[in-house]
């Protein structure tokens, strides 16, 4: 069975970590990553860039908003990973999806693959 593990924390305090703190956390995480990767059970690990880099497409009126999707009454139902040349191209993809499936919103958030996994 495939699962995704979604990571939540307070962005502001994570960004207040010192470099030493950040390195220490990454070192501890890497121990876990390596163990599970060796078992062939860790697939790509992805770091979302901060919410300030996010752009949200509100589907009902095709409005592009600065920032992450902030409503709480909808639930996260899925996600795509796309490789596009620009935010504009990413929005083009999201708009095509909207035609097929109106309602809700798409948040476009730049990501970095920090471990491709096994």
């Amino acid at each position: 069975m495939l699962y995704t593990v979604l990571c939540y924390n307070d962005e502001a305090s994570v960004f207040a970590w010192s470099k030493e703190e950040d390195d220490a956390v990454m070192a501890r995480l890497n121990v876990v990553h390596e163990k599970w990767e060796a078992r062939g059970k860790l697939k790509p690990s992805i770091r979302l860039l901060p919410t300030s880099a996010a752009t949200t497409l509100r589907k009902k009126d095709d409005t592009v908003l600065d920032g992450p999707y902030a409503e709480t009454k909808e639930q996260l139902l899925g996600f795509y990973v796309i490789d596009v040349d620009s935010l504009e191209e990413g929005l083009e993809f999201a708009r095509e999806l909207t035609k097929a499936n109106p309602g809700g919103a798409y948040e476009l958030r730049p990501i970095m693959i920090y471990n491709p996994g096994s």
């Binding site: 307070d10 502001a12 305090s13 994570v14 960004f15 207040a16 970590w17 470099k19 703190e21 220490a24 770091r47 860039l49 901060p50 300030s52 880099a53 752009t55 592009v64 600065d66 920032g67 620009s86 935010l87 504009e88 730049p110 970095m112």
Partner: protein, 410 residues
């Protein structure tokens, strides 16, 4: 208890800013925040982190300060820790009262008082790092290579000047808010540049870059729709992503085109690129966005020879329109020399000679154009002038290499 440190540091600007609004006194606000932190260190390990650490600190800080005032007056007893820590019911109210718009104006005010125009730039930087970022006087003193007591005095004097000038407590109108944002953005960029120009051997001061980025993140969280704040953060992230490549083994500065680009850090670079693209969509351009876009063009080039100089030249033209200055034109000439050759670049900067005569970089750049055109004698004169004006041994050493290569040509 690293999570507590992180939460305290990130909540500090909001907490001190709100306490300043309550007490209308910077020292009292800082004392109250310190007090609240001490209580947090006792209460949080036991009770876990509060839902909104800033709101907790504001509430507890305010109560503690009021207690202190009362105690000074009547010598009454302090309430015990458990009573103060048990905020679960009250916290919700405070959180509701302290919505984003309160935080926004509070934090902006706190940052704004640090950029009082009467304060010299160094004092603005020191004050912001002390009050908003919460760096210790010792850390700041070490970064500026002065004694702790001297720095303490400077900060005290700066605080005195700020209080004497009167802190603007009324909520700003739209125009004032825009002016404050611009002043604060400039101050944050000052902090960044102080770190950026520190040199490889001053780690304390290099850390100012991280502080400036943190302050810009804070500001952007409050004003997500301000493209110039987005641009400022993007600019700093892109410049800072090159930090590891900017100095060689013996601490000498490595020019952008000679840098080992595999040392550029991917995460801040990607974030910077994403931010600048977002900001540009607003179609409300400004100097930070344009400078970030220029840094972005460099970031897109995997090797120096792939740099899109045509795009950079266009961006510098846009920057000239926003902030006309001979230094911007000088920078544009570098792009022009790549697209149209040294002759065109030289023609562009020759009219600037009067205004930039005392500027190291002008003579260095001019010398390299003359050298390229084979006007060796004039090139040598320009380089000699540059060496005389060099601000650091590294700058002088770099020009000397040019001079040496001229001699070798003969």
């Amino acid at each position: 208890m690293a999570w507590i440190d992180g939460a305290l540091i990130s909540a500090r600007p909001q907490a001190v800013a709100a306490l300043l609004r309550y007490f209308r006194d910077l020292d009292l606000a800082e004392e109250a925040y310190q007090d609240a932190c001490l209580r947090a260190l006792k209460a949080w390990p036991k009770n876990g982190p509060p839902r909104d650490p800033a709101a907790w600190l504001i509430m507890v800080g305010r109560n503690a300060a009021i207690d202190v005032t009362r105690r000074r007056a009547k010598q009454t007893e302090l309430p015990n820790e458990d009573q103060i820590s048990d905020l679960s019911d009250v916290e919700a109210d405070v959180v509701q009262k302290l919505d984003e718009s309160d935080y926004r104006d509070d934090v902006l005010r706190l940052l704004f008082i640090c950029c009082h125009p009467d304060l010299p730039q160094i004092q603005q930087i020191a004050l912001a790092l002390r009050i908003v970022s919460g760096l210790s006087v010792k850390q700041i003193a070490r970064a500026f290579l002065v004694g702790e007591s001297a720095m303490e005095q400077r900060i005290t004097r700066a605080k005195g000047k700020v209080s004497g000038a009167g802190v603007p407590f009324e909520a700003p109108d739209a125009v004032e808010r825009a002016e404050r944002l611009a002043a604060v953005a400039a101050m944050i960029y000052l902090v960044f540049n102080e770190g950026y120009s520190a040199g490889a051997d001053n780690e304390e001061r290099m850390a100012f870059c991280d502080e400036a980025i943190r302050l810009a993140r804070l500001l952007l969280r409050m004003y997500p729709a301000e493209p110039e704040i987005t641009g400022l953060l993007a600019l700093m992230l892109l410049q800072h992503s090159r930090a590891a490549a900017r100095y060689g083994k013996s601490g000498e500065a490595v020019l952008l085109e000679d840098q080992d680009r595999s040392l550029w850090k991917k995460a801040p670079m990607q974030e910077g690129l994403a931010l600048i693209e977002k900001a540009m969509r607003s179609r409300r351009s400004g100097p930070y966005q344009i400078q970030a876009a220029i840094a972005g063009v460099h970031a897109h080039a995997n090797v120096a020879s792939e740099t899109d100089w045509v795009e950079i030249e266009t961006l510098y033209q846009a920057l000239e329109r926003h902030t006309p200055s001979p230094v911007v034109t000088l920078n544009r000439s570098v792009a022009l020399s790549k697209t149209q050759g040294a002759e065109a670049a030289l023609n562009l900067i020759d009219p600037l000679a009067d205004r930039l005569d005392g500027y190291f970089y002008f003579h260095g750049v001019r010398g390299s154009y003359l050298k390229e055109l084979g006007r060796t004698k004039e090139a040598r004169e320009a380089f000699s002038r540059a060496i005389a004006l060099a601000n650091t041994p590294a700058e002088a050493a770099h020009i000397r290499q040019h001079l040496d290569s001229l001699s070798a040509q003969k």
